[in-house]
Homo-oligomer: 115 residues x 3
């Protein structure tokens, strides 16, 4: 199974890593892919440093050998942020749009969670 988490606030960023970790630790649910999609400039800026950056890095490392995790930021939101894609942790990807990515993944069978 595959799950996408839709993050739009700094508060949601502060616990989405725990949600991703809980999902991957749930042995009753075979999860192969998890993505976090961010569509808000303030969250992108929060992901550049400090606690926010650690959350992103935790998500990107959470899959280990068993699952793929991704962290994607909306290109529209990137334009409104101070941080650039290069300022974010290695592995963060640009999505054409947050809402487009959320649509595409669900159309491909991913579950959606608003944390």
């Amino acid at each position: 199974m595959r799950t996408v988490f839709h993050v739009s606030t700094v508060d949601q960023l502060s616990y989405v890593d725990a949600k991703v970790t809980n999902l991957l630790a749930d042995e009753t649910v075979p999860v192969s892919h998890v993505a976090v999609v961010v569509d808000n400039p303030a969250v992108i800026d929060a992901a550049e440093s400090g606690d926010g950056r650690e959350r992103v890095e935790t998500v990107l490392a959470a899959g280990g050998d068993d699952a793929e995790t991704a962290f994607r930021v909306c290109s529209n939101a990137l334009r409104g942020a101070t941080a650039t894609l290069d300022d974010l942790p290695h592995g963060v990807e640009r999505a054409s749009s947050g809402v487009g990515e959320l649509t595409r993944l669900q159309a491909d069978g991913w579950a959606y969670i608003r944390p």
Copy 2:
């Protein structure tokens, strides 16, 4: 692909038009239908005039020749609102229930986004 946005607060109404516009502008995602479903009386009242009304009109016009957009309000929420369906912009439709409409669309393959 088809996407439904679930709007329950006046704050969500204030930016859902931008989300719909971003989705339809994303050339990497072929979107044929977008719906906004409102299930809260305060949002219905906000959609009657001023900025809220403009947001609704933007959503209804956003598809152009390429996609169909709809704006639907829950009949239960309508009973709690001061505004009536006739007070809302032309094109706004009544849904039997907001949660019923969200269930029906997802069962038919639509993606769900909580903006």
Copy 3:
């Protein structure tokens, strides 16, 4: 059709029963199963007594003879709560994880609603 409501705040608990009732009362949508999934300790504690407990009991009774309703709490959130599963209304179930349950149900075709 089947629908899962994802509840993470006490505020969401305070009206999720009305949403479930509205969904089951919508005769245009044939709904056979509704589940509420809670992934937050504060909501679990609120579900132990008073108004919160009544909401849970309303959800569990809402299906009548026509639909099955379930109320499930995340085992991770249970560990953070003061209330135990035995303190909650009869019929409340433990989910291995909230996010796992939300993934499993959507992968099985359930609609997702963030109330």
